[in-house]
């Protein structure tokens, strides 16, 4: 693979399209114990690890029988009784270091404090496709539970053998196996003593139902929280290695620009600065960031630029260039649309747009690369450590077994850190400098050279019948992506289509993916239909919704919000919206106030009900839900990337507005705990309904229907 190939822009909903790499777990058993010390190791084997990690609509296209048997999780019980759980997922602020440890402690029957997690390290953890798609909880929780369950049974078997009693009567609790008949007990540490016992367990072990959880389901604080309030935790940008240099990359003036002339004669005044030119990659490494920047500023480069379209013409471009992808036919086609329209009492057609937005994680892209004895180690903030490892191996022609990628707990990502950019740059510079190199992107680089949530255009045609039921529904999505394209409402005659468009800006995943765009369009349109039929928006939704989980969140949110709320003053408005994706359900009610003078929109109050099955950690979940609401305010109200001729017009927090303290409304998060349902993830769905709820509230306040995101960058003007 050429070096450029690794820099190719990603597709919208990138991971859904990604090729499935095939890797076998290669760490030999004796290496494992050398690494971790003696004890008991349990390996969870999952036949469909890859399918399990893809989002639902795409997983259908994989043939499960083709997939290799693979180790998907494991845990180790040490001679000291301490338990270590391993997952290739990364901690990005979603709190899995705590919640997965809770799950293991719960199932293994050990105190929570005795469990620690090793995450996102390609040499220590099992292969993982990446930390995205709200998959950490649903894919890791059952696997770690099965591993812990098998571990518990193994310990019981060991104790039974020691005591020469039947397995059946023995209990496991609080890190001990107890024989109630004789009162004897053995600690796990005693049972693990001197053992190097490895067991691969079957995929289906009976694990503890949520109703009987004792440690999972509890509000356990973030495990390493103290290291964050003291500043001791080292994120990637905080790392230092002996002899480490700081790297900088010279960015082209615009996207796609290529080098036509290069002269670094004036840049060589600092003998400690190392310059690298490799095709269109130009970078420097030096003892300080400023020396590296100085060296680059003395390089004379001429670039050839290419004309590119701007954000002002993006939506007509999307409409003109959309094509149905041959291997992704229309996701939905049911009934007869002409029958549906024949029954129409009201018809409504409308189109909706969403702008490009940036993830803007506060920790920018960063990597520290170290080449020693032909082996490459890279610490980097990425959601896909194994993909980064593969790219590094391919780009630098190093065997994968000699590349190790480690992800320190990360300063967030929101879907924005799937790529290898900083890791590739640091490694290229480290190879030239023969020293470890750290690259930390600036905020401007982060806003420009990362990737964006794609812009999208959505066109809806619809009809409702005499009874206020949806009778026809057509949904065409250009470029925004497939996630959440299927309507949750009952409608016999419907069609949905996705039109791919060649990338304008480098685009990829974002929290909620396309579901945010699809939910905005759908829920705005549903609200407009309800108004057309003069039916209350809550009643209209309930009238067209059969899924009981969806109805439950909607009713819970509406009840707590006090829907329908009587307006107390001019400018006040109330709106609601619902969403579902990846096995979880959300309903959001919003109260807004539009200033009659300035048209400025203030979100006053939000009530959101959320349900994702059995709750593993209510405190962590509430943090995620409230966080999604607040982050969603930005995309709803004011975030939009400005671009022209391959340049970003607002690559700073001063010009790209993100939610701040003053934007935060009064928020109530209602968490519905369904102990009968296996936990789903919660990273994304809670963000999906806030934008349409606000838009619908703006309509309620002003009578203006805003069919665009952001809704009100300069106030609620149409």
């Amino acid at each position: 693979m050429s070096r450029r190939a690794a820099f190719l822009p990603s597709e919208p909903d990138r991971f859904e399209f990604s090729e499935r790499p095939i890797h076998q777990f290669e760490l030999a058993r004796r290496d494992f114990f050398r690494l971790l010390g003696a004890g008991i190791a349990i390996f969870s084997v999952s036949k469909d690890i890859f399918a399990a990690q893809e989002t639902a609509p795409q997983s259908k296209s994989f043939h499960k029988e083709d997939l290799p048997e693979n180790i998907s999780a494991w845990l180790h019980i040490g001679e000291d009784g301490n338990v270590t759980g391993f997952t290739g997922k990364a901690e990005i602020g979603q709190n899995i270091r705590t919640s997965l440890a809770q799950t293991i402690a719960d199932e293994l029957r050990v105190p929570f404090e005795s469990v620690r997690m090793i995450t996102g390290d390609t040499s220590l953890t099992p292969f993982d496709a990446g930390t995205f798609g709200s998959r950490s909880t649903p894919s890791m929780t059952p696997q770690l539970r099965r591993a812990a369950c098998a571990g518990r049974q193994l310990l019981i078997t060991e104790a039974a053998r020691k005591w020469d009693v039947p397995v059946a009567g023995l209990n496991a609790a609080d890190g001990k196996i107890t024989d109630p008949a004789s009162g004897r007990s053995l600690r796990y540490s005693e049972l693990a003593q001197g053992k190097t016992l490895a067991q691969v367990m079957p995929a289906e072990d009976p694990t503890t139902p949520a109703a009987q959880w004792t440690i999972a389901g509890k509000e356990i604080p973030k495990v390493n929280a103290r290291s964050f309030v003291t500043g001791a935790h080292q994120y990637t940008p905080d790392m230092t290695l002996p002899g480490m240099l700081h790297g900088k990359v010279l960015r082209p003036p615009s996207f796609g620009a290529t080098v036509t002339s290069y002269d670094d004669s004036a840049a060589k005044s600092n003998p400690q600065a190392i310059l690298v030119r490799d095709g269109d990659f130009i970078g420097a490494a030096a003892p300080t960031v400023h020396e590296a920047a100085e060296a680059l500023s003395a390089v004379k480069v001429q670039w050839k630029e290419v004309p590119q379209i701007s954000n002002r013409e993006i939506f007509s471009y999307l409409k003109q260039n959309g094509v149905v992808v041959p291997d992704k036919p229309n996701p939905v086609k049911e009934g007869s649309l002409s029958d549906g329209y024949a029954r129409a009492k009201h018809r409504l057609d409308a189109s909706y747009t969403v702008e490009y937005i940036a993830h803007a994680p506060l920790e920018p892209r960063a990597a520290v690369a170290q080449l020693a004895d032909g082996k490459l180690t890279v610490w980097t903030g990425t959601q896909r450590p194994f993909a980064v490892r593969d790219e590094l191996a391919a780009v630098f022609h190093i065997p994968e077994s000699d590349v190790r990628v480690i992800v320190p707990d990360m300063g967030s990502a929101y879907g924005g850190k799937h790529t290898s950019d900083a890791a590739l740059e640091a490694t290229r510079l480290a190879r030239a400098a023969k020293h470890p190199v750290k690259v930390v992107w600036t905020r401007e680089e982060e806003f420009t050279w990362a990737y964006f949530r794609p812009a999208g255009l959505i066109e809806i045609k619809s009809a409702i019948d005499e009874a206020g039921k949806l009778s026809a529904w057509e949904f065409d999505n250009y470029h925004a992506g497939l996630s959440g394209i299927e309507t949750p409402y009952v409608v016999a005659n419907q069609r949905a289509a996705y039109f791919a468009v060649p990338l304008v800006l480098r685009s990829g995943s974002y929290r909620g993916l396309a579901a945010t765009a699809n939910h905005f369009a759908r829920e705005t349109h549903i609200d407009a239909l309800a108004r057309l039929a003069q039916i209350d928006p809550l009643e209209f939704r309930l009238n067209n919704l059969s899924n009981e989980r969806h109805r439950a969140v909607l009713q819970a949110a509406a009840k707590s919000f006090g829907w329908p709320v009587k307006k107390a003053r001019a400018g006040q408005g109330f709106g609601l919206a619902i969403g579902n994706e990846k096995g979880s359900y959300v309903a959001t009610c919003a109260e807004i106030f539009v200033d009659p003078g300035s048209d400025a929109v203030k979100v006053v109050r939000v009530v959101e009900a959320f349900e994702c099955g059995a709750i593993v950690n209510p405190d962590g979940l509430r943090n995620q839900v409230v966080g999604a609401i607040i982050q969603g305010l930005g995309g709803a109200l004011f975030e939009a990337i400005e671009f022209e001729n391959g340049r970003i017009g607002n690559p700073h927090f001063a010009s790209y507005r993100v939610p701040r303290f003053r934007d935060v409304p009064q928020i109530e998060a209602i968490l519905l705990d369904r102990k009968d349902i296996i936990p789903a993830g919660a990273g994304e769905t809670p963000i999906m309904a806030i934008a349409p709820a606000i838009g619908n509230a703006i309509f309620d306040a002003t009578g203006k229907r805003l069919n665009r995101l952001p809704l009100a960058p300069k106030g609620a003007k149409v």
Binding site: G93, P221, R226, F228, V229, T442, R443, V626, H652
Partner: protein, 159 residues
């Protein structure tokens, strides 16, 4: 030759070799190893690099290190005393006022600065004072609660 630059960080004088116009942030992080102070934007827009300079919260990315000579600098690492967290740190910990926690150092330093000036802030005072600090995970309500709780510990309940 001019006298080498010295700055006081967390109660101790330290020699600085970086050029005098280097932003304090880079001296703290890269030369002196106080990496608890975070780089978030380098433009004074996000507050992640906030430290106390002469007791007042300042964006360390916007201050040349020379301006810190003779004015004590306190970073997040300097708040804990004899193994005991500062009440603001403890309040953040108790409230779980973080997700990815990359903004936490700056939030805590800004809040410590606020409480020095205004020991009994209202909710609105806190919102106004933290308006320049960005949290992308959306943990704002817990941060405000944590600062209110810290104020109670430091100054007793509001009358």
């Amino acid at each position: 030759m001019s006298k080498p630059l010295e700055i006081e960080v967390n109660g101790k004088l330290r020699a600085v070799k970086y050029p005098a116009d280097t932003p304090l942030l880079y001296v703290l992080r890269d030369e002196l190893g106080f990496t608890g102070t975070k780089y978030g934007c380098g433009e004074g827009q996000c507050g992640a690099c906030t430290v106390l300079l002469g007791g007042a919260p300042r964006r360390s990315c916007q201050i040349p290190v020379s301006a810190a000579a003779g004015r004590p600098v306190t970073t997040i690492e300097g708040l804990e005393k004899n193994g005991k967290l500062h009440p603001v740190q403890q309040a953040f910990l108790d409230a779980g006022a973080f997700q990815c926690a990359y903004c936490t150092s700056g939030m805590i330093m800004s809040s410590v600065g606020l409480l020095k000036n205004n020991p009994r802030p209202t909710r609105e005072d806190i919102v106004q004072n933290l308006q320049g600090n960005i949290c992308r995970c959306g943990t704002h309500p817990r941060i405000v609660d944590a600062v209110l709780n810290a104020a109670k510990v430091i100054s007793g309940p509001r009358q």
